[in-house]
C-alpha cells in the first residue's frame, strides 16, 4: 500500500465544480481515515459522480482541494511520474462492466499491463501476482484468459476490480459498481469487496443510490442533494436516524414489506419534475 503521510487517507476541502452556469458540486468537504470507507449517497444530478471524477483526476475542481495520502491532486499532474503515482493512490471501478473494459484484452493481459506500468516487475513476478489477483476476485483460469465478450456482467465487474487492485491503490472508488448486477451476483461481489478490504485495508469511496448496499460496505456516509452536502455521519446513524428532511425522504422511499408509497403531488397539486 502507498505510504500515508497524514492522519487521513483522503481529504476533500471546500470542493466546488461549475459547468458553465451550473454548480454541480457546492462546498463539499469530507475526510477518510485509513482503512475506513465512505459512502457518497445521492440521486441523479446530486453531484456524486462529479466528485468521483474529481478525485480520480478526470475533472478539475473549480475551487477546493483534494489530498490523497498527503499529496494534493486538485491540479493536473505535471509529469508522467506524478501521474503514475496518482494512479497508485486512487483507482476506480465504473458502473457499466460492458463498456469499461478493452474488448480486445483478456483479464490476464489487462492486469499484466497495470502491473508492468506501475510496478515495473519482471515477467515471472507479474505472472504470479496476476494469478493471485485473478484468484482473489474469484475468476477461474478459463475466464481469466477469455475476452470480455465471453464473460457475464458479474465476471466483467470482477475483472474491473482486479485491474483496479493491481495498482495497489490506497483508495478504491466504486461508482455504482454493483448497481447493474443481478441480486444473486451482487451479493457475491459485495462479499468479495468485504474480503478484499479485510485483506488489503484499502479504503472504499462507494458512490451509490442503493442504501442497503451503502449499509453493507461503508463506515461513514455523506448525503448529497443538488450538489450540496445535506447530511454527514456514521452510516448506521444516517440510515437509522436521518436528520435532514431530504435524507428522511430518501430513506422512506425504499420499498420494504408493508411499504405504501405516498403521493407528494395530489392531482392538481402542480409539482413537476420537468427539466428547467
Amino acid at each position: 500500500m502507498t505510504e500515508t503521510n497524514g492522519a487521513q487517507v483522503l481529504r476533500a476541502a471546500g470542493l466546488r465544480k461549475e459547468f458553465g452556469e451550473l454548480v454541480a458540486v457546492d462546498d463539499v468537504s469530507f475526510e477518510i481515515p485509513p482503512g475506513q470507507s465512505l459512502a457518497i449517497v445521492g440521486e441523479s444530478g446530486s453531484g456524486k459522480t462529479t466528485i468521483a471524477r474529481m478525485i480520480v483526476g478526470l475533472e478539475r475542481p473549480t475551487h477546493g482541494t483534494i489530498t490523497v495520502c498527503g499529496h494534493d491532486r486538485s491540479r493536473p499532474a505535471r509529469s508522467t511520474r506524478d501521474r503514475r503515482r496518482r494512479g497508485r493512490e486512487v483507482q476506480i471501478v465504473f458502473q457499466d462492466p460492458y463498456t469499461s473494459l478493452d474488448p480486445r484484452q483478456s483479464a490476464e493481459d489487462t492486469i499484466d499491463e497495470v502491473l508492468r506500468l506501475h510496478h515495473g516487475w519482471p515477467a515471472d513476478r507479474r505472472r504470479a501476482r496476476t494469478a493471485e489477483l485473478v484468484d482473489l476476485v474469484g475468476l477461474d483460469t478459463r475466464q481469466s484468459r477469455a475476452l470480455p465478450r465471453s464473460l457475464s456482467g458479474g465476471q466483467r465487474q470482477r475483472v474491473a476490480i482486479a485491474r483496479a487492485l493491481a495498482a495497489e491503490p490506497a483508495v478504491l472508488i466504486l461508482d455504482e459498481s454493483v448497481a447493474a448486477l443481478d441480486v444473486s451476483i451482487q451479493a457475491q461481489v459485495l462479499n468479495l469487496l468485504a474480503d478484499i478490504r479485510d485483506e488489503t485495508h484499502v479504503s472504499y469511496v462507494l458512490i451509490s443510490h442503493d442504501l442497503a448496499v451503502v449499509r453493507q460496505l461503508t463506515d461513514e456516509a455523506i448525503v448529497l442533494h443538488r450538489g450540496k452536502m445535506v447530511e454527514r455521519g456514521r452510516t448506521a446513524r444516517v440510515l437509522d436516524h436521518p436528520q435532514h428532511p431530504y435524507t428522511q425522504r430518501l430513506r422512506a422511499s425504499v420499498p420494504r414489506p408493508g411499504w405504501k408509497p405516498s403521493r407528494r403531488d395530489q392531482p392538481g397539486g402542480g409539482e413537476g419534475n420537468s427539466v428547467p
Binding site: A187, L239, G272, N273
Partner: protein, 347 residues
C-alpha cells in the same frame, strides 16, 4: 398440467368467485438464435383476476419480459408458441386485425425506458392521443381534452402546454408519468408494467409507484408488474410470481413472500439482498449465476445446481408447479422444506 381455473380457485378461496381476466397455461416459447431453436419460456402458467395486481419477479434472462411480450403478442418474428393465453375467456393467439387492435386497447403496456418508447420528433399530444383517434375514432379535440384530464390525474398540471412539448423537454420521471397517463387513456382492463421505475431515482420511483397504485385501484385495473426487485413487488402487488430459467417457480401472496416462501430460489433471493436495517458480516450469496431457459439442464430442476437444499430427487425430473399452502411451488422437496425456508438472519 392441472386446469388453471381450478388452480386459481385453490390459490385464494376468497377470490374464487371472479373468473380470471388473464389466464396463461402451459405457455412455452422457442426463439431461433443463429439457426438453432432455443427455449425462452418453459411451461409458464399464471392467472390475473380483474382488478388484481400480480408481480412477476426474476433476474436477467428469467423470461419475465418475454412473458409480457407473449401476452401483448409482441414476440419476435419466428417465435414458436405452445400453450394458451386467454383474455376475458378468448384465446389471444387466434386474434388478428380488428380483434387484435381491440385487444391491445384493453391491454396497455408501460416500459422501463420511456424515452426509447416515445418518438423524439413527435409531440407528447400526438403520442398520447394516437390510440384514441385511430383505434377508437375519438375526435381530436375530445382526445386532447381527455389527455389533459388524465395528465392532471398523474399529477401534471399544465397539460395543454405539455401536449405541445417534446419528450426531450421532460425528465425521466415526468415522461414515465406521461406514459402511464397515455396507457390509461384507452380505459384498458389490464396493465403490463415492465420495470416501469427501474431507471428512476428512488424518490421518483416512490412517486411514480404511488400514482400507478392510486390510479390502478381507482380504475379497477388489473396489473402484471414485472420487476427484478422482490421488495418492490411484495409491497405493490397482491400476489407475486417468481421466475427462474423461463419457468414460474413460485406463486405466493405477496405478504408471505419474505416471511414464508415456498421455493428455495425465492428464499435465497430474499436472503441475498443486503438489509438496510443491519450490516451483515457476510451476505448469503447464491453460488453460480442465474441461468437462461436454454442453459437449464434438461430433465432436472433448473435451480438444483445452485440450490442449498438439492438432493438426488431434484436431479431426476423437472418438478411441476403444484399447489401448496395457498400458493404454488415448483420444487420436488417443497413439502419437506416447509417451514425451513423463511426469514433467517444473515451471519
Amino acid at each position: 398440467m392441472s386446469d388453471p381455473a381450478t388452480i386459481a380457485a385453490l390459490e385464494s378461496p376468497g377470490a374464487a368467485a371472479s373468473a380470471p381476466l388473464l389466464e396463461i397455461s402451459g405457455l412455452s416459447v422457442m426463439l431461433e438464435v443463429n439457426g438453432t431453436k432455443r427455449p425462452v419460456l418453459r411451461d409458464v402458467s399464471l392467472t390475473v383476476r380483474p382488478g388484481e395486481a400480480v408481480g412477476l419477479v426474476g433476474e436477467s434472462g428469467s423470461g419475465k419480459t418475454m412473458t409480457a411480450r407473449a401476452i401483448d403478442r409482441l414476440l419476435p418474428r419466428g417465435a414458436e408458441v405452445q400453450g394458451s393465453i386467454r383474455f376475458g375467456g378468448s384465446e389471444v393467439g387466434a386474434l388478428s386485425g380488428a380483434g387484435l387492435r381491440q385487444y391491445r386497447n384493453q391491454v396497455a403496456m408501460i416500459f422501463q425506458d420511456p424515452r426509447a418508447h416515445t418518438n423524439p420528433v413527435r409531440r407528447i399530444g400526438d403520442f398520447m392521443t394516437e390510440a384514441l383517434r385511430t383505434n377508437l375514432a375519438v375526435p381530436a379535440a375530445e382526445a386532447r381534452r381527455r389527455a389533459v384530464d388524465m395528465l392532471t390525474q398523474v399529477g401534471i398540471d399544465d397539460g395543454e402546454r405539455r401536449l405541445r412539448q417534446y419528450p426531450h423537454q421532460m425528465s425521466g420521471g415526468m415522461l414515465q408519468r406521461i406514459m402511464i397517463a397515455a396507457a390509461l387513456l384507452t380505459k384498458p382492463r389490464l396493465l403490463l408494467a415492465d420495470e416501469p421505475t427501474t431507471a428512476l431515482d428512488v424518490t421518483t420511483q416512490a412517486e411514480v409507484m404511488a400514482i400507478l397504485d392510486d390510479l390502478r385501484r381507482g380504475f379497477g385495473l388489473a396489473m402484471l408488474f414485472i420487476t427484478h426487485d422482490l421488495e418492490l413487488a411484495a409491497a405493490i402487488c397482491d400476489r407475486t410470481a417468481v421466475m427462474y430459467a423461463g419457468q414460474v417457480v413460485e406463486v405466493r401472496t405477496s405478504a408471505l413472500l419474505h416471511s414464508d416462501p415456498l421455493h428455495p430460489y425465492t428464499a435465497a433471493l430474499a436472503a441475498a439482498r443486503p438489509d438496510i436495517t443491519q450490516t451483515a458480516h457476510r451476505l448469503r450469496a447464491i453460488p453460480g449465476r442465474p441461468l437462461s431457459a436454454f442453459e437449464a439442464p434438461p430433465g432436472e430442476c433448473a435451480f438444483a445446481p445452485r440450490c442449498p437444499h438439492a438432493k438426488d430427487v431434484c436431479r431426476t425430473a423437472v418438478p411441476g408447479l403444484v399447489n401448496l399452502d395457498g400458493g404454488m411451488s415448483r420444487c420436488a422437496r417443497a413439502h419437506e422444506l416447509r417451514s425451513h425456508l423463511g426469514d433467517a438472519p444473515h451471519d
